[in-house]
Every structure is written in C-alpha cells, then in structure tokens.
C-alpha cells in the first residue's frame, strides 16, 4: 500500500523547530574541555555567594529535600547539534534563590574542575533554570555533568554548566571560560549568538 500519512508518524520534526544553523541529533554527544570530575554526592556542595559576600550552602540531602520539577526541554549546543524534548529532574533556581537576598544583575556559574560561565540573573529566574540531578529518570552520568548540572536550556548549552558547585552573584558581568575566548556573552540560539559580536 505504501501510503504514509505524516499525520500518524508522531510529532513532526520540521526544521522550524530548530534554531538557525542547528541539526537534530538523537544521541547525546559528550563535550568536555577537561577531565571529568567524579564528585561523590556526600562531598557535593552548592554555594551561592551574593554581591555582599554572604554565602548560602546546600549539601546533597538539602538539595534533594527541596521541591523538584520534571523538566522537558529542547537543548542546543553551539557546536550545532540540538536534541529535542530532553527530560530532566531538578530544583528551580527560583526555589534555591528564594531566601537569598540579592539585587545582583549577573551570576558567574562555577563548576567542579574549574569551569565557569556567566548568565544574567534575569535568565536564571522565572522558571528558566534548574539545578538538575536526573536525566531520563536516572542520576546524571558524570560525563553529562552529574551529580548535578545547571540547566538553562533557552541559552546555548555551554551555559548549562556541568558539575555545578555554585553561583557568584555580582553587579558586574564577569565573563566565563568560553566567553573570555571568543564566545558570545549571552548565547541566544534563536539569534545565533555563537561568537562575540554576533
């Protein structure tokens, strides 16, 4: 019969779902700029330091005790792959920052292993960013940033720092690892902000 109705093949994957210059991938490429840290959850700690120097810390048990969201989002890597409808579980930064007193405009995200990336506070709040600790219903593999990574999926995925260990909040925008070496300070995939000046 050979008659195929696209309407019955599941959700359509038209090019219009992808930001400009991206291609669709089904696997989950591992990008790394250094050795993979293997952080045991009993040693894991997440610290938010405000512009006045006040630090708030969570250990693994404290993170898991917070209300968590199930998150399904498309992710877009600056190396041009995109992956649709990825499933995560994690704690919203709205929840983590609820009792942190700050009027800072910027955050520098720090990771175990020394990686950093800068994100405006406006992009970390209002249901746009999480500290994720499960991927597809399982603990996140160290290769993909476990035990916990930042998830800020509306920006290029280098902003979703693997092995996250804290935020340093500031009134000034200090640039992160890739942003100091030619990558765009903001990184909106829909505006194709790959490199400085894009």
């Amino acid at each position: 019969m050979g008659i195929v109705s696209p309407g019955f093949s599941g959700r359509r994957r038209s090019g219009s779902e992808l930001p400009p210059g991206q291609y669709l991938t089904r696997d989950f490429p591992v990008l790394s700029a250094g050795p993979t840290p293997h952080i045991r959850t009993e040693h894991w700690e997440f610290t938010v330091t405000t512009e006045t120097g006040e630090a708030t810390k969570w250990d693994w048990a404290a993170l898991l005790a917070l209300p968590a969201d199930e998150i399904t989002k498309d992710i877009h890597c600056v190396t041009r792959w995109s992956k649709l409808e990825t499933n995560w579980k994690g704690v919203s930064l709205d929840t983590l920052l609820a009792d942190v007193e700050t009027s800072a405009d910027y955050a520098l995200v720090h990771s175990y292993g020394g990686y950093t990336t800068n994100v405006p506070m406006d992009d970390l709040l209002d249901g746009q960013a999480w500290i994720a600790y499960e991927y597809d219903g399982e603990p996140i593999d160290p290769e993909h940033g476990g035990p916990a990574r930042l998830l800020v999926p509306h920006l290029y995925f280098w902003k979703s720092a693997k092995w996250v260990r804290g935020l340093v909040l500031s009134d000034n925008q200090d640039l992160g690892f890739w942003e100091t070496a030619g990558y765009h300070e903001y990184g909106d995939p829909w505006k194709e902000q790959r490199y400085a000046g894009d």
Partner: protein
C-alpha cells in the same frame, strides 16, 4: 563516544596552532603557570570535543592554552603558560 581519557596529545593542536605560529609549537618546551612543570608541548593533554581546543598540563590538569576559531578570527589564550620555548632558527 569516548568519555574518560577523552584527551589527545599535544600534536592534536598542531593544525590549530599553525594558524597562529610560524614555527611548530608541538616541539616547544612549555612551563605550566599553575604547577611549574616543564615539558614538551606534545605531551600535554588536548581536548578537542568542545567549543574550542583546550591544552592542559599533564601534571596538574591546569589549562596551558586555548584556541577558539570563529568564522572571522582565531582567539589564542596563553595565560596558562609561563613561557613557550622554541629553538632559534
């Protein structure tokens, strides 16, 4: 995909560095600004499955140099090196 031990040796940086240097940097002697280790650049650990190329010290894993190639420019960050010693031709 390879995950751990996902680095190559310093020769993997030859192409990217030849965009910038007239001499072959892989044979250069480098000193790490982090731990002070001195060695041949070719023995550094080079990560290429990333938005840019990152060469790390085989002693302390500190960043020795980074190369980002954009459509219009090459960015070279050498902050991690105390020096790069090349033979005087």
């Amino acid at each position: 995909m390879t995950t751990d031990a996902s680095y190559l040796d310093g020769n993997a940086a030859a192409g990217a560095l030849s965009q910038v240097f007239a001499m072959d940097v892989t044979a250069a002697i480098t000193q790490c600004n982090g731990c002070g280790q001195t060695g041949v650049f070719a023995e550094s650990h080079v990560y290429v499955n990333a938005p840019g190329l990152v060469a790390r010290c085989s002693g302390c894993d500190g960043v020795l140099l980074r190369v980002v190639t954009t459509p219009s420019d090459v960015y070279l960050d050498l902050r991690g090196l105390t020096y790069l010693r090349l033979p005087n031709p």
